[in-house]
Symmetry: C2
Subunit: 333 residues, 2 copies
């Protein structure tokens, strides 16, 4: 049901009956390693290309989520997924393996929550009994496509972020035990004119702010409604900008409540510049860490705002600025 | 509401209260030129890149659809769109111009019906009052990205298809006059091992067949339920394969009912090899020609099955075969 201008309320509160996160060796050394279901010590996952490795991460996350619910792929009606690769090949090829009717989405790193929002809408409207929502990214594949191949050893500025090698997936159902999806706010494009692909956090922060404010306005609630409000991958620099922008608009976010998945996933001593990014960032942190905390009773109500920078290598070469978007999903235990 | 395994029935029958199609100079010389709202005589649309020209086509189609309904952009809750460009920049950048909350989708040339299916679901479930669904493609932009820049003058085999330069958009609403969306069948990936990007019709035909059969099975109807059943962009070769495959499965399609948007849009004397393709193919033919015929009373019930070849230039270089998908939407007057 539409509430306000851009928020869906899910009256039946679809349940995330199971979820899974899969990561690579760098994530295994990170701060949230215990929240991953599977961690690979080989960034190639035994495949002959990093793109195939990314596809495998996504397949594994989806299969793990389905297995954890003691279900079979055949019982799931739809698979909704997106990723950063051109023509979202990680998702499309994973959909080939899974054999589940497939809805491809693209919102760059916001894809994880775009997928969860749509999965919840499908379940809430009785258009599906079970939907798997997933998203993935791979550090080397993303660097090669958007910036320079890692082998070039190009230097990065401190505003750059580290793309997560990982995939997350959630199985959304009409009934069952688990955290429940209560609402979703679909963002609009915000573009403040930033064109530097090494400064995504700054580019995306205003989009996150726009969606957060729309969410509070549409539902007529305050930040205190949530125990935790986590953006997807703004990193330290974007997080600071978002906090300041919100404060300017008289939305004061407590630093114990307002955080960013890109600031949570790695340890302080890992060389990730401003923090983590990638579709796999909010996907693994949400479907692993945050949902685990909810199940342990440590969090009761959360809002995840996945942020996406909708540039392409070509739009960058054509000197376009970066259109950004953010989609928010609220989850309650 | 879910019916069978993969079909949604829209009980409120969302209405396409207006729609629009925009094309380029080659489409102006085509068989359906009278069904376009706007035809450009310059393939660049005055822009300095063909990618920006594609974005403009999509913006114009969406704006025309909204204007034809005597509405304002601000009254539309969501914009759902996809295209062939890497990171669907045509859609994302058009979403920036429109300023409407945006859901990016990707299903290659199936994006047009993926978007219309989701738009109808949003409206049917009262998650939106008005949604614009759109899709676009541009011949030169697609050739440059997937094959060779047109300027190279590379020869093409007779199985190749001509990407449509055009965009289509439909405005879906809860109430009003116009053709109504009654159901949608979401396809799964079918990959028969074809890896030749100059033979998309053959690659996609089995996916179209899979979705058509699922649609009939889920709804327990026969082909005779429809006046017209049109695939998206199989072209002549793919259409023949689909017809034969269906006949083998005892689904006999009358040649007066079963057609393909890629066979309708151009004239016989236009050098398009096996026919037309691209997101803009099913989008312009459906939102222009087919809906016009419905409004004139010439068609009462149609099924459009948009077909998508989910390859990327990189998956092709890595010698992967082409995963294909098809999404079907039924429309009634």
């Amino acid at each position: 049901m539409l509430k306000g201008n851009q928020t869906w309320i899910f009256e039946t509160k679809p349940v995330i009956i199971s979820s899974a996160a899969v990561g690579g060796p760098f994530e295994a050394k990170g701060a949230l390693s215990e929240d991953f279901d599977l961690l690979h010590d080989d960034v190639w996952l035994g495949e002959d290309s990093v793109e195939k490795a990314e596809k495998k991460l996504l397949e594994e996350a989806c299969e793990a989520a389905i297995n954890k619910a003691n279900m079979k792929k055949e019982e799931v009606q739809f698979f909704i997924s997106g990723d950063l690769m051109n023509q979202i090949i990680s998702s499309s090829f994973a959909a080939r393996t899974l054999g589940i009717p497939f809805l491809g989405v693209f919102g760059a790193c916001s894809s994880a929550m775009e997928g969860l929002a749509l999965a919840s809408l499908l379940v809430d409207s009785k258009s599906a009994k079970y939907v798997v929502a997933g998203a993935s990214s791979h550090n080397i594949a993303a660097e090669k496509q958007f910036r320079y191949p890692t082998e070039y050893g190009a230097q990065k500025p401190p505003t750059a972020q580290w793309t997560v090698t990982g995939a997350g997936a959630g199985l959304v159902a009409q009934k069952g035990d688990g955290p429940r999806v209560t609402s979703a706010t679909i963002g609009k494009i915000v573009d403040m004119g930033i064109s530097d692909p090494y400064n995504m956090g700054s580019a995306m922060a205003p989009a996150a702010v726009d969606t957060i404010e729309a969410h509070f306005r549409d539902l007529n609630i305050e930040p205190s409604h949530y125990d935790l409000i986590a953006t997807g991958d703004l990193g330290k620099i974007g997080h600071k900008i978002a906090t300041d922008l919100l404060a300017k608009h008289n939305v004061n976010m407590s630093s114990t409540v307002f955080t960013d998945c890109g600031m949570l996933i790695y340890k302080e001593d890992q060389p990730v510049m401003a923090g983590a990014s990638g579709c796999g960032c909010s996907a693994t942190v949400t479907y692993g860490h945050l949902l685990n905390k909810m199940k342990k009773g440590e969090l009761k109500r959360i809002l995840v705002i996945a942020t996406g920078a909708l540039l392409s290598p070509l739009s960058y070469q054509q000197k376009e600025s970066i259109p950004c978007i953010a989609h928010a999903v609220s989850i309650e235990m």
